[in-house]
């Protein structure tokens, strides 16, 4: 169903994304002027309009504050994960116990799942490999898998619960 020409949904299907694109443009040209602001806004209207068909349903961010906290936690974890992986690389390979595990998702929003999968890939020793939409599970590869249940519980508590809060 295509929204009519005059509705807001036709021209601005994703208002926040449009604003983000406009800001991004200003940052990229590294200069604030009326001309660039207008160009950025134009891009902010055109790009979501053109890519609209590829978007899942509009993701709703319910609470911005937990999102900020989530990003901070993520930043710290990325630093930690780098150290952990660097140490594992430096130690002899026979100490490694790589393995796969299946992570059962409790989220159902596509956008939230995408963020969770990216988070898993950026944090200590895990990379998400495959998303099974039918079973609603993520297949994750761990560089060093000691206790499967513990790893799953860790991800659930540290990342999935906050994401549920944010996208509820």
């Amino acid at each position: 169903m295509t929204p009519s020409f005059r509705s807001r949904r036709f021209w601005l299907p994703h208002p926040l994304f449009s604003l983000f694109l406009a800001l991004l443009w200003l940052l990229m040209v590294n200069e604030v002027s009326v001309a660039h602001a207008l160009l950025g806004l134009a891009l902010g209207v055109v790009i979501p309009r053109v890519t609209h068909a590829f978007w899942p349903e509009e993701a709703k961010i319910r609470r911005p504050l937990p999102l900020l906290r989530y990003l901070l936690v993520l930043l710290v974890d990325i630093l930690r994960s780098n150290l952990v992986v660097a140490l594992r690389i430096l130690r002899p390979a026979r100490h490694l116990r790589p393995g796969f595990f299946t992570y059962p998702l409790t989220l159902d929003d596509d956008f939230a799942i995408t963020i969770l999968a990216s988070t898993i890939s950026l944090t200590p020793g895990t990379v998400s490999i495959h998303y099974d939409a039918k079973a609603n599970t993520l297949l994750v590869h761990a560089l060093h898998l000691e206790d499967e249940a513990e790893t799953i519980a860790g991800i659930r508590e540290r990342y999935e619960q906050p994401l549920r809060e944010i996208f509820r």
Partner: protein, 115 residues
């Protein structure tokens, strides 16, 4: 304008960031060379290189914020894009590897496709 115009402590900080970034990137590349199978090698690029590039960019940001008036924000953008795209490429490569049924190193637990 040369880097001599920077105060010594700023030079020190920038040099430290560049050095740490270079070391982390080196470890990441080394991991790429020595880890035993495709799936474990995926871990190097997504982690070690993001921090390596991140540190280098912070060094660059400090230098150019000092040389030009005002804060140079393009480096921050590069970091954001890197963090947003690295997991996606790792995901796609892992998926392709699964499809092609690449074997994991001996001792990999719960290897999928094992019949």
């Amino acid at each position: 304008m040369t880097s001599i115009d920077m105060p010594w402590y700023l030079q020190l900080i920038v040099a430290a960031f560049l050095l740490v970034g270079a070391i982390v990137a080196l470890i990441g590349s080394w991991g790429l060379a020595k880890l035993p199978d495709f799936y474990t090698r995926l871990h190097g690029p997504t982690k070690a290189s993001t921090l390596g590039v991140g540190c280098t960019l912070i060094g660059s940001l400090l230098t150019f914020s000092h040389q030009q008036d005002g804060v140079s924000v393009q480096e921050a953008l590069v970091t954001i894009f890197l963090f947003a795209t690295a997991p996606v490429s790792a995901h796609m490569m892992g998926k392709a590897a699964l499809r092609r049924r690449l074997p994991g190193v001996a001792g990999t637990r719960n290897m999928p496709n094992d019949k």
